[in-house]
């Protein structure tokens, strides 16, 4: 039986509750409940009308059963009947039942709303309050529709009792939260704001919650509340502890109202009115002062209430972030709490300091507490407090203390709770990167991170260390050495193998001089981990192996052996099998030069926001990453990869950052975004590309070493051409088009934004040129247009149609490539080159670029085979002085026979053997096809190895062609 049964004791209910409590098992309880439910059902259905008391008692029993966790599907009607009872307690129980067991039956809702309406208009304050409580408890849309317009009236009416006003204010708040569209304050706004001046503290307390919520949504309409709130706060703060009578809580005047007032002020910027602001600052100072006074009571309630106000005041000071004195004072007072014996205060002080650390005024003051905070991280027994300490260390970190903080966080990680490890790892990684002055420290830190908490190191973290190592050549050797050492551990984390494989594959050569880390030792070390790794890691290792073959030819046989074994080449995993097969083929077919190009060192990554930071933000939700990260990012941003964008973008990490499920997002996969291959493809298709280009360009791959390989190299000659270049270079041929005299494919142009690749083919007097425009940035190019023009008389000599079957797309998305086809017809011989003009908008700035298209007269050559006799006969026929053009010049390039042969073949003529009596000389013959005529051309090139000189002689059936060809060719050797 209950200890107390005040008011209207319901004996039957008490007996039932006792029975339930005496049940020995869950089954017995359910049995007893079912018995009671049957009893109540029969009573409700019975012929005999129940009196109010019985109805109340049974409804109350149903409520109790529901609160025990059982479903209740009847009794609603009886509860609704109780609402219209004249007896207060019956009505009260009816409302309680409705509030707890809301039912969406529309007939019931109509009845309920009717009862509420009656009570609201009853003018009986107790009944009105009951009705308002019910609306506030249910807060459904139907109720909002029925009462949202009525309640503001009740709230501001002059004759409404205080207690009803209080209920009305919070009832309205609840309706505003669920259906803001239905609560229209309009005309009431000013009168609601003035409730802050109400005589009755209870009314102010209730009203302020409503006003705060409305102010958050409509700050302008409610801004008059600021001065009212300040004066109310000022009166409370300066009152003696007895002034407010029952609103004083353990000697603290109106703590709830004070907190709410301070909270309301946080919806607004500092008051503009000097007097108001002065008064507010005075209040804040008083609050800080009072917190320092000796306590008026030893009760924890006293200190809690006082400190609740203090923390809220500090929140406001931080929100304003404009009063350095107050900020520093706040920080000092919080500092005292850091060692308080109350765990709650330590927790809150750590939390509050986190936000103080983000203010430039108090950052330094926060930093002075570093030792205490580190100590908290080590000794606090409550994980949530340790978490706060870790957060604060993160927030207070800057260049001056980064090494200490990172070291502490690393050592904490070894024992950290599993629940917070991943976040800790991200934080350590971010700090290490942000404040790294010396990159060996950065590499050490990340490798330690992997060693200590490898399972919690997400992909973003290890991608990032690789990005940084690749972009910073001063750390590459150290990274290779460190990772090599780390891999020596008998058991190392798979993430370490990934980083190790990648870094040794790229930079293993930097430590290969030491016999202890010779190429084979490196390989064996990596391969010893291979079988323990997952498929993606093994795929990465295979790529590292092929890179080894390039870096260290002496490992070729060993690695080929590995690739050739069945477990690789017949691996059931398609990706692994494909890699093994392709790499094996590549290593046996391609010449060392080809290998060197395909497997070239990764180009630097473009600078972008750290993917780890993005991950942390995602993890913590927007706004949860403390502000200093972002600000510091701005202040000291980009310092790690200071070089900004250099070299070609290889979309590498962006592919992997997008966490493509494909495991190919590594070494060679990255190369797939290289110039000529179109959309991102796997490593495999890149290889296909390489060979398919080798095919038609030159029948023998070996001869072609100067040809297509250069295409894959990041172009060095063109790098001088930047986007600022508005006009083409004046010289007859700018550097880029000169390179295309003897070849048809390659990179025409490249800067930080754009890369233009070119592929062309010619037959007779016709040509077709494919242009590939690649957007290297992550931002789209808008209004992208290209025009081809033929300057001067070229117009009549060459017909180039910008008929790309379709015009180029006006928009090039970030990272995308678009293609354009030009059809060219040679009408008559020409010497100028057509111009390609490209315009587009990049981030608002108009980019304008003019380039010469590499269309030269020699492209229309048809090779002509002839005997020595025929050659010299023709030669003699073309003996008029204008028909011959001759140049003697110094060699600019290699004089190697094969190189020269390749160039002459690339020129388009037939290279004739055994024609010239001097075997050192080269002679060629061909016919240039134009629409109107054919021009026969003979060429003789006489190298002088000793003098490093050439003599080039051309004889053509047309004078202008001789001159032009001579001019073109003299630059090629």
């Amino acid at each position: 039986m209950p200890a107390v049964s005040k008011g209207d004791g319901m004996r039957g209910l008490a007996v039932f509750i006792s029975d339930i409590r005496n049940c020995k098992s869950k089954e017995a309880e359910i049995k007893r409940i079912n018995k009671e439910l049957a009893n109540i059902r029969s009573k409700f259905k019975g012929d005999k009308a129940l009196d109010g008391y019985s109805k109340k008692k049974y409804v109350c029993k149903l409520l109790f059963i529901f609160l025990l966790g059982h479903d209740i599907d009847f009794g609603h009607m009886e509860a609704v009947n109780l609402l219209s009872s004249n007896k207060y307690t019956e009505k009260q129980i009816g409302y309680l039942f409705i509030s707890v067991l809301v039912n969406s039956n529309s007939e019931l809702i109509r009845l309920i709303n009717n009862a509420i309406k009656n009570d609201l208009s009853s003018r009986n304050p107790t009944f009105m309050c009951l009705a308002l409580h019910c609306i506030a408890n249910v807060g459904s849309r139907e109720m909002a529709e029925a009462f949202a317009s009525e309640i503001p009236r009740i709230l501001v009416a002059g004759d409404t009792m205080d207690s009803v006003k209080q209920s009305a204010a919070l009832c309205l708040l609840r309706l505003y939260k669920t259906s803001p569209d239905l609560v229209l304050m309009g005309e009431w706004t000013s009168r609601v704001v003035h409730l802050l001046n109400d005589q009755h503290m209870g009314v102010v307390t209730a009203a302020i919650s409503l006003i705060t919520c409305l102010s958050q949504k409509n700050p302008d309409e409610f801004k008059t509340c600021v001065s009212l709130a300040v004066s109310r706060l000022s009166r409370i703060v300066s009152s003696a502890s007895t002034d407010l009578q029952d609103y004083t809580y353990y000697f603290v005047p109106a703590p709830w109202l004070s907190c709410k007032l301070l909270r309301l002020l946080q919806c607004y910027p500092p008051p503009e009115d000097g007097a108001v602001k002065g008064r507010l600052v005075e209040c804040l100072e008083t609050i800080l002062n009072k917190a320092q006074e000796p306590p008026k009571s030893k009760k924890v309630q006293h200190s809690n209430a006082k400190n609740a106000i203090l923390f809220e005041a500090i929140s406001l000071i931080i929100h304003y972030d404009s009063e350095p004195n107050l900020l520093v004072r706040a920080c000092n007072q919080l500092g005292q709490f850091l060692q308080h014996r109350e765990t709650n205060l330590r927790y809150l002080a750590l939390e509050s300091m986190c936000t103080l650390a983000s203010s430039e005024f108090s950052h330094e003051a926060v930093k002075t507490h570093i030792e205490t905070v580190i100590n908290a991280l080590k000794t606090e027994r409550d994980v949530s407090v340790r978490q706060r300490a870790a957060d604060l260390l993160y927030a207070m970190c800057d260049r001056s203390n980064a090494k200490q903080i990172v070291a502490e966080m690393l050592s904490y990680l070894e024992t950290a709770d599993y629940s917070i490890r991943e976040e800790m790892v991200l934080k350590v990684a971010i700090l290490a990167e942000k404040y790294a002055v010396d990159y060996s420290w950065y590499v050490d830190t990340i490798l330690n991170l992997i060693r200590i908490a490898g399972d919690y190191v997400s992909e973003e973290v290890w991608y990032r260390v690789i990005q940084i190592v690749i972009n910073r050549d001063d750390v590459q050797g150290y990274a290779a050495k460190t990772v090599f050492e780390a891999l020596q551990a008998p058991a190392c984390h798979e993430n370490m193998v990934k980083v190790g494989g990648y870094i040794l594959g790229e930079f293993g050569n930097l430590i290969a001089g030491d016999p202890r880390s010779s190429p084979l030792v490196q390989f064996n070390l990596l391969h010893s981990k291979f079988h323990l790794c997952s498929v993606p890691t093994r795929a990465l290792l295979l790529s590292a192996y092929i890179k080894f073959i390039n870096l260290f030819p002496e490992t070729k046989a060993t690695i080929q052996e590995v690739l050739r074994c069945d477990s690789q080449i017949r691996n059931s995993d398609v990706e692994l099998q494909q890699r093994a097969v392709e790499y094996l083929k590549l290593s046996s077919i391609a010449s060392t030069d080809v290998l060197a190009t395909v497997l070239e060192e990764m180009p630097p990554f473009p600078e972008r926001e750290s993917s780890i930071l993005a991950k942390l933000k995602k993890k913590k939700g927007p706004g949860a990453v403390s502000v200093p990260d972002l600000e510091d990012g701005k202040r000291e941003g980009g310092e790690l990869n200071g070089g900004g964008e250099r070299g070609p973008d290889s979309a590498a990490m962006s592919a992997s950052n997008a966490s493509t499920p494909s495991p190919s997002a590594d070494l060679l996969g990255m190369r797939s975004a290289a110039p000529m291959s179109a959309a991102p493809t796997s490593a495999g298709s890149l290889l296909v590309d390489v060979f398919s280009e080798a095919g038609p360009a030159a029948p023998s791959a070996a001869v072609n070493d100067d040809g297509f390989l250069r295409d894959l190299e990041p172009p060095t000659e063109t790098s001088g051409l930047s986007s600022e270049l508005q006009t083409p270079v004046d010289s007859p041929f700018n550097a880029s088009s000169r390179r295309f005299v003897c070849k048809n494919n390659g990179v025409l142009f490249e800067n930080q934004l754009l890369q233009i690749g070119i592929k062309s083919e010619y037959r007779q007097n016709l040509g077709r040129m494919y242009l590939f425009y690649g957007n290297k940035t992550s931002v789209q190019f808008a209004s992208f247009t290209t025009t081809v023009s033929c300057p001067g008389e070229l117009q009549s000599h060459i017909l180039s149609i910008l008929r790309a079957t379709k015009p180029v797309e006006p928009v090039v998305e970030g990272g995308a490539q678009i293609q354009q086809v030009l059809n060219i017809e040679c009408l008559t011989d020409f010497s100028e080159a057509p111009l390609l003009n490209i315009k587009f908008r990049y981030g608002g700035a108009l980019q304008n670029l003019s380039l010469k298209l590499p269309v030269t007269i020699n492209k229309f050559f048809q090779p002509t085979e002839m005997t020595s006799h025929d050659f010299f006969q023709r030669w003699k026929q073309l003996s008029q002085p204008q028909q011959e053009a001759q140049k003697i010049f110094k060699a600019n390039h290699s004089m190697d026979t094969e190189v020269l042969k390749a160039k002459l073949l690339g020129l388009g003529t037939a290279l004739l053997d055994d024609v010239d009596p001097n075997p050192e000389n080269y002679v060629c013959a061909g016919v240039i096809q134009t629409k109107g005529q054919q021009v026969g051309c003979l060429l003789r090139l006489e190298p002088n190895g000793q003098a490093q000189m050439y003599r080039l002689t051309l004889r053509c059936s047309k004078d202008s062609v001789s001159l032009r060809l001579c001019e073109l060719l003299a630059q090629q050797f």
Partner: protein
């Protein structure tokens, strides 16, 4: 405040008050999870914890845990004192309250809470005023009972009848 739960050391829910609309299923899930989390904590640990995207403030009084879920911008310490004030109200009303009082008079516990907090925000923080409102309601009942005993067979007809709404 989003909700308040009272539960025993054995994890039995004694009172639940929800200030945000949630389905019964969700309420049960939240209750189960939170009761487990809080009961697993050691006595000296701090009274606040981050839970989902909310802050949970709890305190144990004898065998009963009082547990509130508040939003991020809400003040933890003042919430702790909301709990304490509620306990004081119960204590004053029942006279040295114990868990049994709340079990047997759960409806009273709800009524007192509704007088103190409405829609999750403090409505009346004065202990006297809240208790006066509750006692007045009790008196109203006794008064009616008294009247009924005096004038057997007559029923108090109108709520506006001054005899029914006795001012105390």
């Amino acid at each position: 405040m989003q909700f308040m739960l009272l539960f025993s050391r054995q994890g039995k829910l004694r009172l639940q008050k929800w200030y945000v609309p949630l389905s019964d299923k969700e309420k049960k899930k939240i209750t189960r999870e939170l009761v487990q989390t809080v009961l697993a904590r050691k006595p000296k640990m701090c009274s606040f914890l981050e839970w989902r995207d909310l802050k949970v403030v709890y305190k144990r009084y004898a065998s009963l845990y009082f547990c509130c879920a508040i939003e991020h911008q809400d003040n933890e310490l003042i919430t702790l004192e909301i709990i304490h004030r509620y306990v004081e109200l119960l204590d004053k009303y029942f006279g040295s309250v114990c868990e049994l009082d709340i079990i047997f008079n759960f409806e009273k516990a709800y009524f007192i809470l509704d007088e103190f907090l409405l829609g999750g925000e403090p409505q009346e923080t004065s202990k006297k005023t809240v208790l006066k409102a509750i006692e007045q309601a009790d008196l109203l009942q006794e008064n009616v009972d008294f009247q009924m005993r005096l004038f057997a067979g007559t029923v108090c007809e109108s709520p506006n009848n001054p005899r029914c709404s006795v001012e105390h």
